[in-house]
Symmetry: C2
Subunit: 213 residues, 2 copies
């Protein structure tokens, strides 16, 4: 008996999920990559769907916890007029850090490619797992941004928050789109570098004058 069987399965699932998506990653390929028997999947997780949900819970849970801790710190420092850059940092840093974590034994895949992959997956399997993890976190950040930019009407507030999320999600893309765009001169493999570029962009976008009528 090795208590690591579940862990090995989760690791392998992450990898193959990121590479082939939920329908393309077969339980056989996952079991083989994990070095465990095929039946172990259903023994430990019950079904393929539950296995995928477990992958979510393991990764997204800690990220959102950390986001909210950082957000609370920013809000506590100045409850009436919170620092916008701090809010954005809380939103972006935790996810980018795990997205750009170098692959390793316990972290076998560029998590960014998994996240973005599953973020856009229409299968209900994935959508449900994702929403469970994200719902309340998103609302907290919209609230906080609204406190920092109280003059924004709600519609514009939601749109711009939405754009911010888009930047983050897109930056986590597994295939290195930025490298392709820049013909290899810019590599997005570092959370701090990405953050340094992203925060001013997002802040300026959020603060843009409301020019449309």
């Amino acid at each position: 008996m090795q208590p690591e069987t579940k862990t090995r399965l989760l690791n392998a699932t992450e990898l193959l999920l990121a590479q082939h998506g939920p329908t393309g990653a077969s339980l056989r390929s996952i079991a083989e990559a994990a070095g465990v028997n095929l039946a172990a999947v259903n023994y430990h997780f019950g079904s393929k769907e539950s296995l995928i949900h477990a992958v979510f819970a393991r990764r997204l849970g800690p990220v959102n916890e950390r986001r909210l801790v950082m957000l609370d710190e920013v809000l506590a420092a100045n409850p009436e007029n919170p620092d916008l850059r701090g809010i954005l940092r809380a939103l972006v840093l935790p996810i980018l850090e795990i997205a750009f974590l170098p692959p390793s034994e316990s972290n076998p895949v560029q998590l960014g490619s998994l996240m973005i992959r599953l973020y856009t997956e229409p299968a209900k399997v994935v959508e449900r797992g994702f929403n469970e993890q994200m719902a309340c976190t998103a609302n907290r950040f919209v609230e906080a941004i609204h406190k920092a930019l109280p003059h924004l009407d709600p519609g514009t507030l939601y749109w711009r928050t939405h754009f911010c999320v888009g930047c983050v999600v897109h930056t986590m893309h597994g295939r290195n789109i930025l490298a392709a765009l820049s013909k290899g001169t810019v590599i997005s493999d570092n959370a701090e570098k990405a953050l340094e570029q992203m925060i001013p962009f997002l802040e300026a976008g959020l603060r843009a004058g409301v020019t449309h009528e």
Copy 2:
């Protein structure tokens, strides 16, 4: 003989590709949705892979053509100092217009959900099809933005262009993330409305002071 068989197959493929991804959408479900015989797929397209490539070519080709026409107009008006908003409009409008085109007979699916879906698909089938369609267009826009913002160092230029693309892609997302975020108060189903919100955000982000060292 009905010349529409290929068209019906392409339409159905779009729909099911958007809903279930390239591995999840089976040829049987596609053929059934199209109301044609299963063997018609291999008769008209040769293979599932070729069918998917045909979907790309049909949709992405016209969008990128239109983008470049609009970009050329902006550049022609002021070659030395092109209008940044015009450039952004050329990048965003053509894709948002087809992304938010209401579903119809000839346009059976919210194309946005297909685009975003395939944009993040790691399968080589899709990656190749996508890159073929996008490569040169992307470079033209980076060049143009650089002309409008010549003070930006190339690294920052690429990063910020990358963020712009992220906003666009994310806004095309099929599942209505914005509606969920705003608890139904904001719906992103209209290209003009989205554009009106997006352009000021992107422009401000691109123009943000370069504060990182």
